[in-house]
C-alpha cells in the first residue's frame, strides 16, 4: 500500500542509465537525433507533471518546451551521477513556478478541453459512473488547492513515483522539508475531502475496494 497508483512513468525506464549517458554525450556534440530521443523519452512524462501543476494545455506545452531548451542549452552542466529525468524535472519545476507566479490564477485557469474525462473515445471513462467522476473531480480540485510545493510533492510522489530524495533534488529542498510537504499535503487533502456527502463517501469506499 505504498503508493496506490499504477506506473505512469512513460517510457523513460525503457533505456538504461548507460544508454542515457550515451545519448547525452551525443547531445553534447550536437546530435539532433539524440535530442529527439531524449525528448521522446521524457516529453510526455514532463508534460503530464507540468499540466497537473498549471492545468492549462498550452501553458504546459510552452513550459515543457522552455524546460527542454534550457536543459539542452546547459547540457554541459548535467552531472551524470543523477538521472536525466531528475535534472529535467528540476528545470521544468523552476520554469513552472515562474509561470505560476506570473499568472497567479492557476486554479481558475483550467483548460477543460484537455481534461482527461473529455475523451469520448475512451470506453472505460465513458462507462464510469457520474458519482465516480464527481469524486475524481473533487480529488483533483483538492489537489489544485494545495500550495505549489505541496502539489509538486504529491504529484512527483504519487504520479511520477519519485522517492523523497529525488523529489528533494527536483524541488531543491532538504528531504525533511519534502516529507513535511507530503505530510501537510495529506492533512490538507483530508480537510478538503472529509466533508463529502454520504453518496460521495459510498463511491469513495467503492473506489477504495477497487484500489485495494
Amino acid at each position: 500500500m505504498l503508493r496506490q497508483g499504477i506506473s505512469v512513468t512513460g517510457t523513460s525506464s525503457a533505456i538504461s542509465r548507460e544508454q542515457e549517458r550515451e545519448l547525452i554525450s551525443r547531445v553534447r556534440v550536437g546530435d539532433r537525433n539524440a535530442y529527439r530521443e531524449l525528448v521522446d523519452q521524457h516529453g510526455d512524462r514532463l508534460h503530464a507533471f507540468i499540466w497537473r501543476m498549471v492545468r492549462n494545455h498550452h501553458d504546459a506545452e510552452d513550459i515543457c518546451q522552455d524546460a527542454f531548451l534550457k536543459a539542452f542549452a546547459s547540457i554541459d552542466s548535467f552531472k551524470s551521477q543523477y538521472r536525466f529525468s531528475t535534472w529535467l524535472f528540476t528545470i521544468g519545476y523552476r520554469v513552472c513556478l515562474n509561470q505560476i507566479r506570473r499568472k497567479r490564477a492557476v486554479s481558475t485557469d483550467i483548460d477543460f478541453n484537455a481534461l482527461p474525462d473529455a475523451n469520448p473515445s475512451d470506453n472505460a471513462i465513458a462507462a464510469e459512473s457520474e458519482d465516480a467522476a464527481r469524486v475524481r473531480s473533487k480529488i483533483w480540485e483538492a489537489v489544485d488547492r494545495l500550495t505549489p510545493p505541496q502539489r509538486a510533492t504529491v504529484l512527483l510522489f504519487y504520479r511520477q513515483e519519485f522517492g523523497c530524495q529525488e523529489i528533494a533534488r527536483i524541488l531543491q529542498l532538504p528531504p525533511a522539508t519534502v516529507k513535511s510537504h507530503l505530510h501537510r499535503a495529506r492533512d490538507r487533502l483530508r480537510d478538503l475531502l472529509d466533508p463529502m456527502t454520504e453518496r460521495d463517501w459510498t463511491c469513495f469506499r467503492n473506489l477504495s475496494e477497487r484500489a485495494g
Binding site: 500500500m1 550536437g30 475524481r136 495529506r186
Partner: protein, 225 residues
C-alpha cells in the same frame, strides 16, 4: 493504540516505511476505529486516483519538430552573435596591426609620405633644429601622419569592401588586404597614396556593411552529425 498514536503512523504507513509490528498494530486499530478507517481509506483512494488517473492530452505530435527547430534557431543565433563579434573585432584588429606596423617600420615617415607631406620630420628631428619655421614643419608632419593614417585605414576598409563585393568572403578579403599591407611593408617602399583620397570612391557612395550574408554558413555544419 489510541487514535492520536495511530494518526502519527499514517505517513509512515502510506510511504511503506512502517515496521511489520507497527503495521499490524495499526491494522488492528483500523478495524475497530471507524474514524481512522475512514481517514486512511480517504488518503489511500486519493493517492490511488492521483497516481492512476488518466493522463491529460499529451504533447502535440509536432512538439519534437518545433523544439528541434528552436534548438537550431538558438544555435544559429549564437553563431550570428559570434560572427558579429568577429566582424567588429576583425577590422579593429586589422587597424591595430596597421598602426603597429606603421609605427614599427616607418617611425612616422612612411605615414607622412602616404599623406603626401613634402617635408618629413619627426618630433626628434624638429627638436634638433630650432630654427624659426622648423617647429611648424614638425607639427605639420605629425598632423599629416595622423591624417594619412586615418586615410589609409579608410582605404583598407574600402579595399576589403571591394573584395567582398567581388564575391570574396570577409575572411579572405581581410587576409588578402593584410597580405598586401605586409608585402608593401617588407618592400620598404612608401605607400603609393597617389593624391590622398584620389582613388577613393565618393564619400557618399554606400559602403557595404559588414553583415553576415556572404559569410560562410557555419550553421550548416552544426546539423546532423
Amino acid at each position: 493504540m489510541l487514535c492520536e498514536q495511530a494518526e502519527q503512523l499514517f505517513d509512515a504507513y502510506l510511504d511503506g516505511e512502517l515496521s511489520d509490528a507497527l503495521a499490524t498494530e495499526l491494522g488492528a486499530h483500523r478495524l475497530k476505529c471507524p474514524n481512522c478507517r475512514r481517514a486512511l481509506a480517504l488518503l489511500e483512494v486519493t493517492g490511488h486516483i492521483i497516481g492512476s488517473d488518466k493522463e491529460p492530452a499529451g504533447l502535440s505530435e509536432l512538439f519534437s519538430d518545433r523544439l528541434l527547430a528552436c534548438v537550431d534557431d538558438q544555435k544559429s543565433q549564437r553563431t550570428v552573435k559570434l560572427r558579429r563579434a568577429m566582424y567588429i573585432a576583425g577590422p579593429v584588429a586589422a587597424a591595430a596591426l596597421i598602426v603597429l606596423a606603421f609605427a614599427g617600420f616607418f617611425d612616422g615617415r612612411g605615414v607622412a609620405k602616404v599623406a603626401g607631406v613634402k617635408e618629413i620630420k619627426t618630433q626628434s628631428d624638429a627638436d634638433d633644429s630650432l630654427a624659426p619655421g622648423k617647429r611648424d614643419a614638425a607639427s605639420y608632419t605629425k598632423e599629416g601622419a595622423d591624417l594619412a593614417l586615418s586615410r589609409w585605414i579608410e582605404q583598407t576598409r574600402r579595399n576589403v569592401d571591394a573584395k567582398r563585393r567581388s564575391g570574396e568572403t570577409l575572411r579572405h578579403a581581410l587576409d588578402a588586404t593584410l597580405h598586401e599591407t605586409l608585402d608593401f611593408l617588407e618592400e620598404g617602399e612608401g605607400f603609393d597614396a597617389h593624391a590622398p583620397g584620389s582613388d577613393l570612391p565618393p564619400s557618399d557612395a554606400p559602403a557595404e556593411s559588414f553583415d553576415d550574408e556572404n559569410a560562410p554558413d557555419e550553421t550548416d555544419e552544426g546539423g546532423d552529425r
